[in-house]
């Protein structure tokens, strides 16, 4: 089944709502709780990145009996050096964002730790696409 979410980049208040909504859906599907946990942590980090860095975007989720596939697309600034961004502690978050408690530089590493497959495509000035796969078996 397919689900679609629009992420509003200007509102921190509702940031994380898409991940919360998907979490509820996965619980209704009776998926194992440790898998739901992995999925919601990695999707939450990706969603927050979209709000913090890219002014929002869209998320498309496909759920089948063997896996959950999450594709997050934005038209933000893009990531110049993906390998650098994957390093723990590296962050390009602004001062204001850090004051709110975000931008610790653990987003992408956390996503990698909590997913079975992580693909990041990005072009500076165009946007970023993050694809997260979590297997259900």
């Amino acid at each position: 089944m397919k689900l679609h979410y629009e992420v509003d980049g200007d509102s921190f208040l509702v940031a994380g709502e898409a991940s919360a909504s998907l979490k509820r859906t996965l619980k209704q599907l009776g998926i194992d709780s440790s898998i739901i946990r992995k999925t919601s942590i990695s999707m939450y980090e990706a969603e927050m990145n979209m709000v913090i860095h890219a002014h929002g975007g869209v998320i498309d989720v496909e759920i089948s009996t063997d896996k959950v596939n999450i594709i997050l697309k934005d038209i933000g600034p893009g990531i110049p050096d993906i390998d650098l961004a994957m390093r723990e502690g590296y962050s390009t978050a602004t001062h204001e964002i850090r004051e709110l408690g975000f931008g610790a530089g653990m987003g992408l590493p956390n996503m990698k730790k909590n997913s079975d497959n992580l693909k990041v495509y990005s072009e500076v000035g165009v946007g970023t696409t993050v694809e997260i796969t979590v297997f259900l078996t």
Binding site: M1, K23, Q28, G30, S33, S34, R37
Partner: protein, 438 residues
């Protein structure tokens, strides 16, 4: 088979739908103008009891007369009990009234709380999975089993102060040569969740508490006997540390467990537990989660307003602090010897899943999404379900029909009336050219 301590009296229910939205596990539906509780989902939190304006939601606790089945009748008053008597001279007066209403002995649950406090610090020091979540509120443990099963391993695997107090006092009496079946231990409770807990305990095989008495049920008796002469000398057993277990901060000291969050009230607890699931609170060491706003002082069976109770209890705590400290060291040491860890794991009971077969669940999920798109999404409750999403699920599961939604019903009537209107038009127009005019 024992089911729940929160029940419905159908005669008093008018189907007002006040309760359905207050249930944290979406366990109530109104069908045929009467509320029904879905047994699997109910966690006995008492939210519905609090909100029901018709007194139809009741807690089933034990009758006071059942204590006379036992030769030795020991009262375990929860610290929240003291706050129901703001006009009492002191706590000794309350405890001695307990003797006057028929108990032969009293053990303040607060002192078991002090021992649990120490055991908890030890556990948190050596724990590896954070945050550790408190387990003394049975409604919260049940909530986690059903709605947050991924957090079961975070739950503090230590028995509640009520249970520890029961274990200690029974052990003491048995060591003194008294037969176990002559000892009756009764918890005086601010809430229905504790009543269910003794019949269906979590983390242990069976509870040693023999009965749970509602604070509301014994209040009148207590008030009558408050000034009666008491022949038994009453000795305080719990220090002020034990008393603070009744409040919303819980029984632990924030300075000992740094990075500690205390959260009370179901909705707030759910918000915090969602954050724990998302992994955003892993730097917090301990979360004290209490289902009732105001902590146990706000329990569904409490009589006094929880904010007034807080004031009453705080005064007594301050008084205790400034007086000579209560010498309960020997008692605490003895209670400290009693085993306190869970003897079995808490089982996950995820009640929100649609079907055990993932393929079937996906199909149902798609049907629910399609149906949900048609619904007004205003969660009005007229259909008897708390949200439109819940209603869509009920329809797909064939527990409800689509026409129970007033809006869908009206749409159907509109469609039907259009069909009927079309039927009143002449079916075939007479074609004069074809049949020719005479």
């Amino acid at each position: 088979m024992y089911s729940h301590s929160v029940t419905l009296e159908p005669d008093k229910c008018i189907g007002c739908t006040d309760c359905i939205k207050r249930c944290p596990t979406e366990a109530i539906r109104v069908r045929g103008s009467k509320a029904k509780i879905i047994q699997d989902r109910c966690i006995d939190c008492g939210n519905c009891i609090r909100i029901c304006r018709n007194g139809a939601k009741r807690a089933v606790t034990d009758e006071i007369n059942m204590i006379y089945k036992y030769k030795y009748r020991i009262a375990l008053p929860a610290p929240s009990f003291y706050a129901q008597f703001p006009k009492a001279k002191n706590i000794e007066q309350i405890l001695s009234a307990l003797y006057n209403i028929g108990f032969t002995d009293v053990l303040e649950v607060g002192c078991a709380g002090e021992v649990i406090e120490k055991h908890t610090y030890e556990y948190v020091k050596n724990a590896t999975l954070f945050p550790v979540i408190s387990s003394s509120c049975p409604a919260i443990v049940r909530l986690i089993q059903r709605r947050f099963p991924s957090l079961i391993h975070h739950v503090l695997p230590i028995i509640s102060p009520m249970e520890l107090a029961a274990r200690y006092i029974k052990d003491k009496y048995i060591k003194d040569g008294i037969l176990e079946n002559e000892i009756g231990v009764f918890f005086i409770s601010p809430c229905p969740a504790k009543a269910t807990e003794i019949h269906r305990p979590k983390g242990l095989e069976r509870s040693l508490v023999d009965g749970v008495l509602s604070m509301q049920d014994i209040y009148k008796m207590m008030v009558h006997k408050m000034n009666a002469e008491n022949k038994m000398p009453v000795k305080r057993q719990s220090s002020y540390r034990g008393l603070s277990w009744a409040m919303s901060n819980g029984g632990l000291d924030e300075n000992t467990i740094k990075s500690y969050i205390a959260v009370d009230g179901m909705e707030s607890v759910i918000g915090i537990l969602e954050k724990v699931e998302d992994g955003t609170l892993s730097n917090i060491k301990y979360i004290e989660a209490l289902a009732c706003t105001g902590g146990c002082l706000g329990g569904a069976l409490a009589l006094e307003n929880p904010f007034v109770s807080r004031y009453t209890l705080k005064n007594w705590i301050d008084e205790d602090k400034s007086n000579d400290p209560i010498d309960n060291r020997e008692l605490l040491e003895a209670i400290g010897e009693i085993p306190y860890l869970f003897s079995k794991d808490i089982t996950p009971r995820p009640v929100f899943s649609l079907d055990n077969d993932m393929e079937k669940a996906l199909e149902m999920m798609e049907d629910i999404e399609m149906l949900y798109k048609e619904l007004p999404k205003i969660d009005c409750g007229s259909c008897g379900a708390p949200t439109c999403r819940c209603f869509a699920e009920d329809v797909v599961k064939q527990d409800a029909t689509i026409e129970e939604c007033v809006f869908m019903l009206r749409k159907k009537i509109k469609d039907l009336s259009e069909v009927m209107h079309n039927l009143t038009e002449p079916p075939i127009q007479v074609d004069n050219d074809k049949y020719g005019k005479e």
